[in-house]
Symmetry: none
Subunit: 215 residues, 4 copies
């Protein structure tokens, strides 16, 4: 195992960083961030922790890089649906489906995100860590604004029920994130199962927004 070199080792520093990030996300997702040691990650890479510290300054940096990557993936995957035309309901349906889809695609990364949603001591974070966190926060804001926009537009046009925008947004995001908590890909499956999941959840999302509080 040690001595063997994976494809990533021949593909430059970026690919190496990415391989480390993948391994870390996987371990974090399985065992939890706190219970995963740098040694665990190194072992799952067939290497020692020196390798990891060569590319990432700290465990916190690893976590924050995973978070940023998760948000980037999600944003990039959903943006086309936002930009595509159509009425608010149609756009939101497409965005929701895309969100659910990417949740299932990069499950490990998103698991880390939901696990580390709280608990971010700014104190003690390095410069790099703060920078990553700031980028993540900014992009996360941008991302949520996509949904906020469409919801607002839908409310204004009467497609969605009049309601508190903040509560609606929070609830929607949680509904769309739900698969991160329970979805576990089966060995045989790939396409159909995921399609059914994303279709149903997108429909539920639409239904949730259409309902009036005083219903």
């Amino acid at each position: 195992m040690s001595g063997a070199r994976s494809a990533a080792d021949h593909a430059g520093p970026d690919a190496r960083r990415r391989a480390i990030l993948d391994a870390a996300a996987r371990r974090f997702a399985v065992a939890g961030v706190e219970l995963t040691s740098i040694d665990d990650i190194a072992r799952s890479l067939g290497a020692t922790k020196g390798k990891i510290y060569h590319h990432f300054g700290s465990k916190g940096e690893l976590v924050r890089a995973i978070r940023l990557h998760s948000v980037q993936l999600t944003h990039d995957h959903v943006l086309p649906a936002y930009r595509g035309g159509g009425d608010p309901a149609t756009r939101l349906h497409r965005m929701a489906a895309a969100h659910v889809e990417v949740m299932m695609q990069a499950l490990a990364y998103h698991r880390v995100v939901v696990e580390t949603m709280r608990a971010h001591p700014h104190r003690g974070a390095t410069q790099v860590e703060r920078s990553l966190a700031a980028q993540t926060r900014a992009l996360q804001g941008t991302y949520e604004d996509l949904f906020r926009d469409v919801i607002r537009e839908g409310i204004e046009s009467g497609v969605f029920a009049g309601q508190n925008l903040s509560i609606a947004l929070h609830s929607l995001m949680m509904l769309l994130n739900a698969p991160v908590y329970w979805y576990r890909p089966r060995l045989g499956e790939r396409g159909t199962d995921r399609d059914a999941i994303k279709t149903q959840i997108a429909a539920m999302a639409l239904g949730a927004l259409r309902a009036a509080p005083g219903d």
Copy 2:
């Protein structure tokens, strides 16, 4: 500091256990389970570690007792709405509102639950810990069955859209749990804000179940 005795100290061992559990839940909710040391909890009680270990065998036992308490609270609070009459939509609306309500009431306890949703190594758990976990699992199952029942009934009677029951249940629970992640009581507020939140989320829940996947 020592020598001072709080009200709980005069009310028997159960009240003392409960006071410890409350303090632990509060600290865990604020800083995260892993980042909270037993000493932190003791300090917030104006006592020392020993007091806690006198009543709970381990940190894991504390966490599991909090989880069980959370599920019990929730179950007890929602059961009347399940038992009350009405068509499936009405009952589910009441159940959802009750669930959201109890989330906000015992916020700290539920925060611990969602944080520790994963990562429960059966290995290394003590007998007491396993017993608490088993009770929690059982009651959690019973609780979810309440919702499952009503959803199924609603689907059969045509009030809810035909859909995958499991996905619907998972999504619904996540939607109802959402406030645990973002709700933070403001000092002035109490009644109206919470009412608005639970009403809106309950409405969204209903809307989500009414929507057909092929919509």
Copy 3:
């Protein structure tokens, strides 16, 4: 203190392990296993806990490694006398002398053995600990069989008195181990004192086996 490196540090990992084992045996022998903390051992090495834990997984592993080493030393030192020819009395005399000799040579290791003769909870032992214990048990069995063989042969040939073999073996081992309890090398001495001790005890061992119970 840090920065200084002893000879062992230049001689590879085995020598380093051995240096730690020596230090541990010495501390254990002086103060007792339970009263010796890992920090004590580290301090006597001019290092910190971490060094020890880098090479040994736990305190129990340290103890068991010392036990195994002790038995190996003893077995290796006595085996030639067993294999050498002669009548049972002669062989047993040589074996006894060799045993007493090695007791005094590696006093610290053997002290640990006699102290930890009992009290080995299998429960809670790590895999490595169990493996070390199993090896020790096996080698200890092999070792005692050397004596058992010679005693039996001696009884059969009439050189030794007819007696219960098990009691005889137990008693003999205890007699030969006795110096571990009371022997304490004096600074000036080396050769003659030890010779006298081993000669006298070997003679007593022979005498003990020759005596008939009904004498």
Copy 4:
């Protein structure tokens, strides 16, 4: 179990002290002194530790009281054989047999003695503990002198081989203590087994002393 009161509770403080001492010796013998907590002992008495601390000032006092009791028992049991007439060989045989006998009778107490043979930090001992230790040391000295006397007499009269008295005494005591390490009473047995053991070991003791070092 709790609430029940044993016979000892009705028989005055001495009997109560003795019951505690018995329980402590038993627990210490089974699990080792360090691994036995005061709570363990209390539990085996069907009481709580308050009871123990009512009668003994500390755990160390408990251990030292057990040691003293062990030596007293042994001394009292062997003294008649010392005082009884006969040639040195006869007396020593009787003394040895008596010693082995009492070892098996009060096994738990003697186990504690051999376990705590070392490791007696004078520092930190209370007044009572030091007093108990001093009495034990004195009585132990007196006791060993009984054997020393007889051995010397035997050597002078030519019954025993000329040899180093100190080595002989040490070795003899160890030989006679051996059953403490390995003897474990079987449920059915009592008389015959023990008789065989004490007879054989006494014979071996005699044989050991008769043998000349230059043999």
